[in-house]
Amino acid sequence: MGAFSVLLAAAVHLPLVKRFVRDEFRETFLSQAEYPGVRLITLQEGEDLWAAGETVFFDARPERPFREGHVPRARNLPMANSKLEIPPGLLDLPRERTLVVYCEGGDCQSSLALAKRLHDDGFKDIRVMTGGWEEWKKAGLPEEAGDAEK
């Protein structure tokens, strides 16, 4: 049954397996065809966007770590699951506005989930800062504590 499962998987998902072999999913399982508006950025790019002041930052971590410290002006949208209910008003932004999302950093994945959710909500330019809060803090960049703009 195990071997048959492997055969079926290879046959049914052949196009996907080919993309996997081409290393398309090296960093994320986000499909560029499905989520063309989502892309991964470095800490430097994130910092530049933050410094320019035009970009809205979203922190996907739970409330508690967010209160302890976050990127100044960031809004908190804890992303525990894809059925996240976004508080009314929090996304009253033009859909063309550039958004940056981040989570804890390292191996955390909730920023990707949040990026997908925001993309589904109609936003067209979402950047995922993969280094997350960990990298931001480590680099000694400005921080803010408390509830901020949640």
Partner: protein, 138 residues
């Protein structure tokens, strides 16, 4: 363990049906399931992808076999094995304080926690009943 034939048949159909459903919703969106596996932060991108494309088919085949009464013991063994693995995985996830979606039933998935363990234990009970049932009674 239970020996009532009618109840064991119901167990086979319910458990087999649940596994077929769980497998089908994952086959429909393998990248989403791969991301769910990755969220547990136990394996890397490659293993998450391989598990995401193979595991749902194993669930479907075992579920069909169990419900149809073909290779009953083998399919019950695979299903109980998977359930034990899912329970351990959820316990480890709770212990690590990770806030992740279980990824168990596609869009019906919810946070990986004690509720998921209870459901899995219920299914495990059915699986074990089928596994230890006398060969000609199911």
């Amino acid at each position: 363990m239970l020996k009532n034939r009618a109840i064991l048949v119901v167990f086979r159909l319910v458990l087999g049906g649940l596994f077929v459903y769980a497998g089908v919703v994952k086959v429909v969106d393998p990248l989403d399931f791969a991301q769910n596996i990755r969220n547990y932060r136990l394996v890397g991108q490659s293993l998450s992808f391989i598990a995401a494309v193979v595991l749902p088919w194993l669930e479907i085949l075992a579920g069909i076999a169990l419900a149809a009464g073909i290779w009953k013991r083998a399919s019950a063994l695979i299903i109980t094995g998977l359930l034990v693995f899912f329970i351990l995985l959820t316990l480890v996830t709770i212990a690590r304080g990770l806030d992740v979606e279980c990824g168990c039933f596609g869009a019906l998935s919810r946070k990986s926690g004690f509720g998921v363990i209870l459901e899995d234990l219920g299914m495990l009970f059915m699986g074990l009943c089928l596994l230890v049932a006398p060969a000609k009674r199911t």
